[in-house]
């Protein structure tokens, strides 16, 4: 296990009187894909949003390279830790504009054509209207958009839940490919154990707002993780 890129300590989050995260501790090793898996309502999306401070935790801290993120400018933090959502939500009239949205806001130079190739799309798509693309292609554009900011880590919130099987499989391949080529640290939220087996190096199991356990993939999918897997399967 590499040096932790992200570390979550004692994270609590309450919304509308409900405790969604009840003191979460977790490590995200640098350069690896960490899957956060658990039944729906476990607090997975909330945990991701607390990491890049799209929401403010009630207590606890998230560390980026050992530095408390509460000390960071939230805009700076979000440029360093990118995020991909369930729904692509692209902006602008062209794919190129959609890819460069965040980069332009921060005055960063980015090459839309190269980014399209990075996510396995044809560079000629840049002129197209993003809404004319398939949802799977849109999701890859949204990954390109996050990569345009050259983030140190990428949070993916069930990025394949709106996709068909073929598109899902391409996104999974892309995640493995980005990790291999860029050594990009990734946190991949999923509720699908077979997907976790395909994409993850590390597995963190979350249920009812607390961490059930954390394993390397091999351990999780061997005898050691059997109870946790049965627990998730039973809850799904």
């Amino acid at each position: 296990m590499g040096r932790p890129k992200l570390e979550v300590r004692g994270l609590r989050y309450v919304a509308g009187g409900t405790e969604i995260l009840t003191g979460v501790d977790a490590l995200v090793p640098g350069g690896e894909v960490t899957a956060v898996v658990g039944p729906s309502g476990a607090g997975k999306s909330t945990l991701l949003r607390a990491i890049n401070r799209l929401i403010e935790p009630c207590s606890g801290e998230v560390y980026l390279d050992g530095e408390p993120t509460s000390n960071l400018d939230p805009l700076e933090l979000r440029r360093r830790v990118g995020m991909v959502f369930q729904i692509p939500a692209l902006f602008g009239d062209s794919v190129e504009e959609a890819i460069l949205y965040g980069a332009r806001l921060s005055g960063k130079d980015a090459d839309a054509e190269r980014l399209l190739q990075t996510v396995g799309l044809d560079a000629s798509l840049g002129e197209r209207n993003p809404q004319a693309l398939s949802v799977g292609q849109q999701q890859r554009v949204s990954i390109a958009r996050a990569l345009a900011l050259e983030p140190e880590a990428l949070l993916l919130d069930e990025p394949t839940s709106a996709l068909d099987e073929a598109a899902r499989s391409r996104i999974e391949d892309l995640v493995r490919d980005l990790n291999a080529r860029l050594r990009l640290t990734m946190v991949f939220v999923s509720h699908d154990l077979s997907q976790v087996e395909r994409v993850a190096d590390r597995v963190v199991v979350l249920a009812g707002g607390r961490i059930v356990g954390a394993w390397d993939r091999e351990d999780f999918f061997s005898h050691a993780g059997e109870r946790a897997r049965q627990f998730i399967a039973g809850r799904l």
Binding site: L75, E76, R78, G82, G102
Partner: protein
């Protein structure tokens, strides 16, 4: 004896109502009672408001006029805040927006001596400014509230890419302001061609010089355009912040304080 003549002619027009009542009776329309109630109520209400207006216009103290206008602003803000429920601090924002719009436009009219500082001018013009600004404020706030809830994924995606709250909400703000301002802008564009403003028609019928009526109407239109724009833009730039924390986070539920 013009007043008496008016009363007499009003009574004579009741003859027309009598025809309607007779027709209703013979045709079994069952409207006699409603017509009767309408006749009595309109007479009482208009007579009452006539005395109220007569009293207000007779006011020599400009302080009382200012107080009345301030009361109208607060009532408008209350009405607007009720419409824009779930928008945190909506009353405050509406009061500031409508108040600034009223002070700016009426202040300009007074400073440039376009209208005299009397109740006869300030109350009706103020009523128009405040009423229209109130509608624009309500439209802007409800639109922002609904769009922030509906387009939450887009707003979050923008924030996650390092956008500030203002940058993330910009498309929503633009739509809300367009929706609030376009009806008045279009009405102003087509005025005189598609419709003649009621006040102008009234002045011409009452015997005013048509060019004088036009002059006043132009003042009114520009005043409304100015005040409504000020109110909508102010309430928009004030209220969108309620949906975000200072750390550029969308509040958990858009309606959580």
């Amino acid at each position: 004896m013009a007043g008496l003549q008016t009363v007499t002619s009003a009574l004579l027009t009741l003859g027309l109502v009598a025809v309607a009542v007779v027709l209703s009776f013979y045709e079994k329309l069952d409207l006699e009672k409603d017509i009767g109630v309408a006749v009595v109520r309109s007479f009482v209400q208009l007579a009452a408001i006539g005395y109220v207006i007569d009293f207000i216009f007779g006011l020599k103290n400009i302080g009382v006029v200012v107080l009345l206008l301030a009361g109208m602003v607060l009532f408008a803000a209350w009405t607007s805040a009720r419409r824009a429920k779930d928008v945190p601090r909506a009353f405050l924002f509406a009061a500031v927006a409508v108040g600034v719009a009223a002070v700016a436009t009426l202040g300009l009219l007074l400073t440039l001596r376009i209208v005299p500082a009397t109740a006869r001018y300030l109350i009706p013009l103020g009523g128009m400014v405040i009423g229209n600004s109130m509608n624009a404020a309500s439209l802007t706030m409800t639109r922002i509230r609904d769009d922030v809830a509906e387009q939450r994924p887009k707003v979050e995606a923008a924030l996650a890419l390092g956008a500030t709250s203002r940058q993330a909400v910009a498309p929503i703000l633009r739509t809300a302001l367009q929706r609030a301002l376009l009806p008045l802008i279009d009405a102003t564009k087509t005025t005189g061609i598609i419709f003649l403003p009621g006040a102008m028609v009234g002045m011409i019928i009452a015997g005013a010089d048509p060019l004088e009526a036009v002059r006043l109407q132009i003042v009114v239109l520009y005043m409304l355009l100015g005040s409504v724009s000020i109110a909508a833009i102010l309430v928009g730039t004030l209220s969108y912040r309620s949906f975000f924390t200072p750390r550029h986070q969308l509040r958990t539920t858009p309606f959580e304080h």
